[in-house]
């Protein structure tokens, strides 16, 4: 008897989602008795609402969105069971010529942000923590895919972005994101947040913990293999969606390892797990940043109950 799990991605098909496709493609989910149906998403925050609404059982999404919803509706928000990106992708990208190298340089500049994305919402907290006078910073809203073109055109000085998205958007816009752009990473300036991972609905958690366990195990297995062989992983990505640009998505996949995963913490606790004290801090930042009325406990947000043994989660990343 197979359990069907409706799974939503954080966005359209991207190389960084490879592990899920590998697990599906190679039958790891099947081996766990799971029929995982993967749909593309509308944003890593929307993953949370999609699951809360009951249309999906699991998904790849933003832990900070869980915190927000858990504060308002305890007991309804999904729970993160396998943290994947343990470094926050939140960043400000800007042309080198503009000269934003440290937070204070933001004063007097115009920043473009996509409304409601964590980067945009957290800029206030970022400013407070780094003594930037936000009254001197001009913020303007725009859709995510307009940020880079407007940055290039010079309509805005800096863009409030996800580094993993913006980096490749710049690349696709024929820019050199390394040479010509500065990146202020929020993680480097006191906003040490967690970000995307595998989350499941409370309903699934309660009614079918075995399925959750299988889901995590299979995903983890695929993650390990993806870390070793991205070419193999990209085959699974292309099998899911032949429209994507394989070369770019492979780079994006590698970028997710190098910039969002591989870290001292990862070496210490393995993929999927979090540190409780850091999670508590992160929750504090979100509560402050979003003006939440309640501070959820870390165990409402993250559950390590389904993680395989740490040895199985020791990630060794080798680019190829």
């Amino acid at each position: 008897q197979e359990t069907t799990i409706k799974f939503t991605l954080g966005w359209k098909t991207q190389g960084s989602d490879a592990a899920f496709f590998v697990a599906r493609d190679k039958g790891y989910y099947k081996a766990e008795g799971l029929n995982v149906v993967i749909d593309q998403g509308e944003g890593s925050g929307a993953t949370v609402t999609r699951i809360m609404g009951g249309a999906y059982d699991a998904g790849f999404g933003d832990v900070n969105a869980i915190i927000q919803n858990a504060a308002a509706k305890p007991g309804e928000a999904p729970v993160m069971v396998y943290m994947i990106w343990n470094k926050p992708p939140f960043a400000i990208s800007s042309k080198k010529s503009v000269g934003i190298t440290k937070p204070q340089d933001l004063e007097g500049k115009t920043l473009g942000g996509a409304q409601g994305t964590p980067t945009t919402r957290l800029i206030e907290v970022f400013a407070r923590k780094n003594n930037v006078d936000m009254s001197k910073v001009k913020l303007t809203n725009m859709a995510p895919n307009l940020q880079e073109p407007m940055l290039i055109k010079g309509d805005i000085d800096g863009a409030l972005v996800f580094n993993i998205t913006s980096y490749f958007n710049l690349l696709l816009n024929r820019q050199d994101p390394e040479k010509d752009y500065n990146w202020l990473m929020f993680g480097d300036y006191g906003l040490d947040l967690y970000s995307n991972g595998l989350m499941v609905s409370q309903k699934l958690l309660k009614e079918n913990p075995k399925a959750v366990e299988g889901l995590v195990r299979a995903t983890n297995k695929a993650m390990m293999e993806t870390a070793k062989d991205q070419n193999m992983a990209m085959k699974s990505v292309m099998a899911f969606d032949n429209l994507v640009n394989e070369a770019v998505e492979k780079k994006r996949l590698q970028y997710s390892f190098t910039h969002l995963m591989v870290s001292p913490e990862l070496a210490e606790i393995g993929v999927g797990d979090t540190k409780d004290d850091r999670m508590a801090r992160a929750i504090g930042i979100i509560v402050e940043g979003y003006g939440l009325t309640r501070t959820p406990k870390p165990e409402e947000i993250f559950s390590r109950q389904f993680l395989p043994a740490k040895s199985e989660r020791a990630l060794v990343y080798t680019a190829n």
Binding site: Q68, N69, Q115, T117, L146, M150, Y290
Partner: protein
């Protein structure tokens, strides 16, 4: 006659209230999460509380929409006249318009933003680009279906094409025109809001975007209610004008009421 009209209006108002009551009951009965579909009462409360904050956004959206709509009417009437009057224009412009109209305007908003910067201009242009089409189609159809006998009255007097258009074609087309206005005004709002969600710091679209991303669904719906309300108000205004201008075509109702 007057009494009947008032009675009808009361019934209509009651039915509308009933609709919202039904929605409310449905939400409560099915235990619907307000993340998915909030209750109307909840929405109204949000609307009431947030109104002072929403007000400038409403003005912004209304302004952009009216401007876009106004330009859309001008463009639509112009294109409609051309298509309705010339066979070549019909064969050329119609397919191009249909093609253009089949394109989701979301796709062109980014281009507009890159050209004109974010803010009011793309909103107006999107609104315009989405709302002129029904007007053009209806005007063209109205002109094409004008009874030749009516035109003959003027033709026999040696009237120019323009005089015929002005004195016969356009008045005859008014019922078509007003029908299209009702469609166009609603789409004009959609266009403005669309552009505002993509790139703007003000406007209902912007509010809705921010509400959506902070999971404030009641506020999102309050935005929708505002749009619906604005649409209905403008519709009511057009209805009044329509009553005066195309009364001649609506004799049926006169009869029914007599």
């Amino acid at each position: 006659m007057l009494d009947l009209r008032i009675k009808q209006r009361i019934v209509a108002a009651l039915l509308i209230v009933l609709f919202f009551a039904g929605w409310e009951v449905f939400c409560i009965a099915s235990g619907m999460s307000d993340l998915i579909l909030p209750r109307p009462s909840e929405i109204m409360v949000t609307l009431w509380q947030r109104f002072p904050i929403l007000w400038p956004h409403i003005l912004q959206t209304l302004g952009s929409t009216m401007l876009g709509f106004g330009l859309g009417v001008v463009l639509g009437v112009f294109l409609g006249c051309i298509i309705g009057a010339s066979r070549t224009a019909y064969d050329t412009v119609y397919p191009l318009l249909i093609g253009f109209s089949s394109i989701p305007k979301v796709a062109i908003v980014p281009i507009l933003v890159l050209w004109f910067g974010s803010g009011t201009v793309p909103a107006v242009l999107t609104s315009l680009s989405i709302c002129f089409f029904p007007i053009a189609v209806n005007i063209a159809t109205g002109l094409a279906t004008t009874e030749p006998e009516m035109e003959d009255v003027l033709k026999a007097l040696g009237a120019s094409k323009l005089e015929i258009l002005w004195n016969v074609g356009l008045p005859r087309t008014m019922p078509f025109f007003f029908a299209s206005l009702k469609v166009a005004i609603t789409y004009a709002f959609v266009g403005t809001v669309l552009a505002e969600t993509v790139a703007s710091n003000r406007g209902i679209g912007n509010v809705m975007m921010s509400a959506a991303s902070s999971f404030n669904v009641p506020l999102l719906f309050a935005g929708l209610f505002i749009l619906a309300g604005l649409g209905v108000i403008l519709y009511a205004i057009f209805s009044l004008i329509e009553g005066r201008v195309t009364g001649w075509a609506n004799r049926k109702n006169d009869f029914a009421a007599a």
